[in-house]
Amino acid sequence: MSNVFVAGVGLTPAGEHWERSLRELAFAALEAAARDTERVLGGPAPAEALFAANALAGQLSGQAHLGVLIADFAGLRGIEAVTIEAAGASGGAALRQAYIAIASGQVETALVVGVEKTTDTIGGRVNAALATAGDSDFESVQGATPAALAGLLMQRYMHTHGVPREGFANFAVNAHANGKANPNAMFRNTLTRDAVLRGGALADPISVMDVAPECDGAAAVVLTSRPTAVRVVASAQATDTLALHDRPDLLAFDAARLSAGRAYKMAGLGPDELDLFELFDAYSIFAALSLEAAGFAEPGQGWRLASEEVIGRGGRIPIQTFGGLKARGNPVGATGVYQVAEVALQLRGEAGANQIADARVGMAQCIGGIGANVVTHILRSE
């Protein structure tokens, strides 16, 4: 089995890109990643496969078949190309397919590009599209959006563990503190704890400040079997029931636990050895449950880690180091690619003002649905 390395990364700002289409966004990320790859490897690295990650284009842009759309537009006619969809975990799932292709020896270099465009339409249509990640017949038909399902999860968590509403506020504060210095972040403003607590209700107990904004964006990562300074030491995926209501233990977040556990085993390390953890804070409750599932807190205690001393850039386990989903933005199917690109930048020491000192091992985890599909990657600097 070949080892897999990160050759290059390319990011576009997450946000509202009214002036750029799906294909243009994807190409901008690929161009940036190609320049980065050339710098890292000392020359161009022709790729044999392209994996496009996207969750919503079929519904919001009337455009499927993105693998070919992007390969064609990027001048890569003839290349092997396919779209990978796993809702919010699409980016991680596409990276994993590239990882498998390279590890198997079938492919030497692969392009992964995540792209999403949510701002051509607004409000109800975007919510309805996002809701297709759940069980259409038994959840969405009741008007249950992902935010509503996350609200059900958060309400039960607060009830079971006696957690106050304010207990989650610092996840958003931390995200914005880190997003501030990230030129690719959608929100670069400081958010005070008071401002978070004043956020208007969206799906009680979830307020607008508990939710990461869906937005446009594209990110690309080039993986290769040619050695570079950053190796992918683990790639793992796990699933849970599609519908939240079918879980024997609503709060177990089992797919995240399984996915992280498989990644730790593959990398031969544990949570204590991670220097940073890019978790999937689409909702603040996800941040708490992800920290528990990844072994940083006992069940019901993850929210207690939401303080600068623990999750800040100098803390025990820094999270959201470029702003997380909350401040960088959540370009749904592209988000998993952003996360891995951000971990790679940290391990190279190229994170600028967002740099975590002496970062050598970092984990990225993305989540499709309400914890239904979870992909985890661990990267290490060589």
Partner: protein, 135 residues
């Protein structure tokens, strides 16, 4: 329009028909043919009583397309007396009065309108506070 799609689910939407596992007697809703408890084949229909309690709830202020007229509305996880949990809107109750543990019962209500004024009306289960007279 997806008429056949909603028609296929009529027993679940109007009658709360799930399944009972012939191997371990677990009650299953929504029906899934493989028992989540023992992994045996489970295709025996079972009619639920329609009674249960609120296991968790949320109030939706930002509805998806097709549900705008109802907002804000309460969505709950309802734990049925027979065991399974399902997702359902609550009705006949002020959102602020919903509580975890509250007793509720199934009623049939309009879920949404499919498209314009000529579109299909989709009916199905919602849950309301249990009426004392229903015992």
């Amino acid at each position: 329009m997806e008429i056949s799609r909603h028609w296929r689910l009529r027993q679940q939407r109007y009658g709360l028909v799930g399944e009972v596992c012939p191997h371990c007697d677990a009650k299953i809703f929504p029906p899934r043919d493989v028992c989540p408890s023992c992994s045996g084949e489970a295709k025996t229909p079972y009619v639920f009583s329609g009674r249960g309690e609120v296991y968790s709830y949320t109030i939706v202020h930002d509805p998806p397309e097709g549900f705008e007229a109802n907002a804000p509305y309460a969505v709950a996880l309802v734990k049925l007396d027979e065991g399974p949990i399902l997702t359902s809107q609550l009705t006949d109750i002020e959102p602020a009065e919903v509580k975890i543990g509250q007793r509720v019962e199934m009623v049939t209500r309009k879920l949404r309108e499919d498209g314009d004024e000529r579109g299909m009306l989709i009916y199905g289960y919602k849950f309301r506070p249990e009426l004392a007279t229903a015992h």
